[in-house]
């Protein structure tokens, strides 16, 4: 066994996995509270990557940043997260809220429309070409190693900040008042509203947090892989969703676990399965199908009981 290949794949799998986990969290939160698949989530992630790029260039660009590199990165994250969070709230307000009592298929079609709208707006406004983050110039190409395990700075940054965001989210949901309101709303929306919880506000803040996480994920992906384009959200959205299903949709620890598993699976498939670098997405798809057949409620999810 070639251990250095294994460790390389593990590190890149964990990096990808952190990105997917953040996307999956947004899916899972929205699904948990509205029982809605937000197809537009992947495109919010794409917009996040673009917002990070714009922030980077407003701050002087990667070669000549007008502030210290770490500050630039932090500002990129902040800008992308706030912009995406706002976008998420707007989407919820105009595409989903009017349909809250409509038949189930209506908001799904609306979500499809939003996704397509965002994708093609990005194509029209930002152009069809790839954009470069030039992370090397900004952060440098230094790598750290522990034995055989090599980690580049953006990878380290991605994994650490993803863990940080997840801890923050867990604390928010478990400890704060708004987190309590979210749990109550997702448990039973009607009862929550009778208890004096402003359900509209809770849902809007869920969208804000979920979309902000997607925006952060977009910036992370771009820092590690360097290039962004208007269609990048589509596949990331699918993988994020796969991660949410594998972990158990609606469960936050499940989304994190699922994200890491999908990232690792994709990475190992690239290295070890036949023609993995071509067919990695097909292998992830096969994994999704396998999970749906064997354990439809996901690894950490509870079986769905139909209520009338």
């Amino acid at each position: 066994m070639n251990w250095s290949l294994f460790w390389d794949l593990t590190v890149s799998g964990l990096t990808l996995g952190s990105v997917y986990a953040l996307v999956a969290l947004g899916y899972s939160m929205v699904y948990g509270i509205l029982k809605l698949l937000n197809f537009a989530h992947g495109d919010v992630y794409m917009i996040g990557a673009f917002m990070g790029w714009f922030a980077l260039h407003w701050l002087g660009g990667p070669i000549n940043p007008s502030a210290a590199a770490w500050l630039v990165v932090v500002l990129m994250f902040l800008f992308a997260m706030v912009a995406c969070g706002g976008l998420g709230v707007v989407i919820e307000r105009f595409a989903y809220r009017p349909l809250r009592n409509a038949p189930r298929i209506a908001p799904l079609i609306s979500a499809l429309g939003v996704s397509f709208f965002l994708q093609n707006s990005a194509l029209l406004l930002f152009g069809a070409s790839f954009r470069d983050y030039d992370t090397f110039h900004l952060i440098g190409a230094k790598t750290y190693n522990v034995g055989d395990v090599f980690l580049s700075v953006p990878q380290l940054l991605t994994i650490v900040s993803a863990i940080g965001l997840m801890i923050g989210l867990t604390l928010l949901v478990a400890r704060t008042k708004i987190g309590k309101a979210m749990r109550a709303t997702s448990f039973d929306r009607e009862a929550a509203s009778m208890m004096g919880i402003d359900v509209d506000r809770v849902i809007a803040s869920t969208f804000f947090i979920g979309s902000a996480l997607a925006g952060a994920a977009g910036v992370m992906f771009a820092l590690v892989f360097g290039q962004i384009y208007h269609f990048m959200g589509f596949l990331a959205g699918l993988k994020g969703f796969t991660a949410a299903v594998i972990g158990g949709i609606g469960s936050l620890p499940g989304a994190m676990l699922g994200g890491l598993l999908v990232g690792l699976a994709e990475s190992y498939a690239t290295g070890y399965l036949p023609q993995g670098s071509t067919f990695q997405n097909l292998y992830v798809f096969a994994l999704l199908i396998a999970i749906i057949i064997i354990r439809p409620q996901g690894l950490l999810g509870k079986p769905d009981v139909n209520k009338v």
Binding site: P107, S110, S121, I292
Partner: protein
């Protein structure tokens, strides 16, 4: 509240009263047409469509027949299949275009120089339908027990997997493919034979048009009977309430799979025809852009309505083609906006505000731009008859493309906002909406009605329809019984 006329009378079925109410609401010539349509027999309704469709190829040019006729028919045929899955059974199938592609590739594989098979169409088309249906069955199988959402995402992923597969299936080096060239990879299959049905060689556009028309009518009539059959009624029950359907001892899983497979088969049929029309099957044709187009057709026409599919296909495919000529496009735009505003904005105070406000806003902005930013008015107006008027009202920058792109996106966003506002807010927001829309139209859309702008519009259309009229143009509104 016994005196409230908006409430149904006590003892009267809510549904009956709502239908009565609707009948009464149609007045004038539109009401007359509507009642005539509702009461005419289905065969007569079909004639309304068939007669112009048969005459059309004999009065138009080859190019127009292809763009307006053949493509619209193919879209409509695809729409019929999607109508079974989404409209009848209420399953959100987002991998639908993959089945279309499977049909085209299957037909191409057995009837082209690629593998040197040259099957006649009467064998190749049923094979394409069967393969597409079978794959549909396999894809639908894991989702059979699950809620519609899982099906949606599994099929969406499947559509993407299909594109990856056909792009690379010429060089798979492991079992069971072992280097067989299945799909021609990124170059696709070319040299697909023209259709050869029982010795009738279909060659010209006109012949293809007539063949597709025949295929369309066949499927349409089939679906008409299926829709009223035991299975068709069961599908609709499933769509309205899966849980209730299950409690009524309907075999829900079997019905779902049937609807899914049925839709996939129709897509395969359309795919086989499309492959031979194009004399090729290329991976890029079976992408999400086409998916959204077909969804827009079905949703706009009204999910579950057969007539709606035809109207939807005519609008979604026909209107952008009509607008290619910039002179026509200008007239169409201002006429449509004027008619919409005049018929929809009540009372007259608001109407005057909208029209006056829009005109004043235009002249004011033009004057400001003229005085301080001459570059903004340096552009040329389009060479229509309205150009003289427009050039004093509209800001026409010299390099408009990027700005017009922003204006376009802004227009659609504003329209989305409009659908949710009421009262005077709506009136006030309408003014900049019309102006920004006209700006985008003058500077961008007239030249560019394909690609991103078109898809953007379709995406927004879905959102607006879901908000404003989920039943589409021809569908029947859902009866809510609480």
């Amino acid at each position: 509240m016994a005196d409230d006329v908006t409430q149904p009378r006590i003892g009267v079925d809510e549904w009956v009263s709502s239908v009565e109410e609707k009948r009464e609401r149609y007045r004038g010539p539109i009401g007359w047409l509507r009642r005539g349509w509702d009461s005419s027999p289905p065969a007569a309704r079909l004639l309304v469509f068939v007669v112009p469709a048969v005459i059309f190829p004999f009065v138009t040019s080859e190019g127009n027949l292809f763009r307006y006729g053949l493509i619209t028919l193919l879209y409509a045929l695809l729409g019929l299949g999607l109508n079974v899955t989404v409209g009848f059974a209420g399953l959100l199938d987002l991998g639908y275009i993959a089945f279309f592609g499977i049909g085209a590739y299957t037909y191409g594989y057995v009837a082209s120089t690629h593998a040197n098979h040259h099957w006649p169409a009467e064998l190749a088309i049923p094979l394409a339908i069967a393969v597409a249906g079978l794959v549909g069955f396999i894809v639908g199988f894991p989702s059979r027990r699950l809620v519609g959402d899982y099906l949606a995402i599994v099929t969406l992923f499947f559509g993407q997997a299909f594109v990856v597969f056909v792009n690379n299936a010429d060089r798979i080096n492991f079992w069971p493919f072992n280097h067989t060239d299945l799909t021609g990879g990124a170059n696709g299959l070319d040299n697909i034979d023209p259709l050869n049905v029982f010795g009738w060689k279909v060659n010209t556009t006109k012949e293809y048009y007539l063949f597709t028309l025949g295929a369309f009518l066949l499927v349409m009539i089939l679906l008409y009977f299926v829709s009223g059959s035991r299975t068709g009624r069961a599908w609709k029950a499933l769509r309205e309430d899966p849980l209730a359907a299950e409690v009524m001892s309907m075999p829900v899983n079997k019905l779902k799979l049937m609807a899914f497979t049925f839709g996939a088969g129709i897509a395969g049929f359309a795919g086989a025809i499309y492959g031979s029309v194009q004399t090729g099957a290329f991976p890029g044709d079976y992408d999400i852009g086409l998916l959204i187009t077909i969804y827009a057709i079905v949703i706009l026409g009204g999910a579950g309505s057969l007539a709606g599919v035809i109207v939807g296909a005519l609008i979604v495919n026909g209107v952008p083609e009509l607008l290619r000529d910039s002179n026509q496009a200008e007239w169409v735009f201002y006429t449509v906006v004027a008619i919409l505003v005049i018929t929809k904005v009540r009372p007259w105070q608001k109407l005057v505000t909208v029209i006056g406000g829009t005109i004043a806003l235009g002249f004011a902005l033009h004057a400001i731009a003229d005085a301080w930013f001459p570059r903004w008015t340096a552009g040329e107006a389009n060479a229509g008859r309205l150009a003289h008027w427009v050039s004093h009202w509209m800001v026409l920058p010299s390099h408009p493309t990027q700005l017009a792109n922003w204006a376009y996106v802004l227009t659609i966003a504003l329209i989305l906002v409009l659908t949710l506002l009421h009262g005077w807010w709506r009136t006030i927001v309408m003014i900049p909406t019309i102006y920004v829309g006209a700006f985008a139209w003058e500077n961008l859309l007239v030249e560019n009605t394909v690609g991103a702008t078109r898809f953007l519009l379709l995406g927004a259309l879905l959102v607006v329809l879901m908000n404003a009229r989920p039943q589409g143009l021809f569908g029947s509104a859902r009866v809510e019984i609480v």
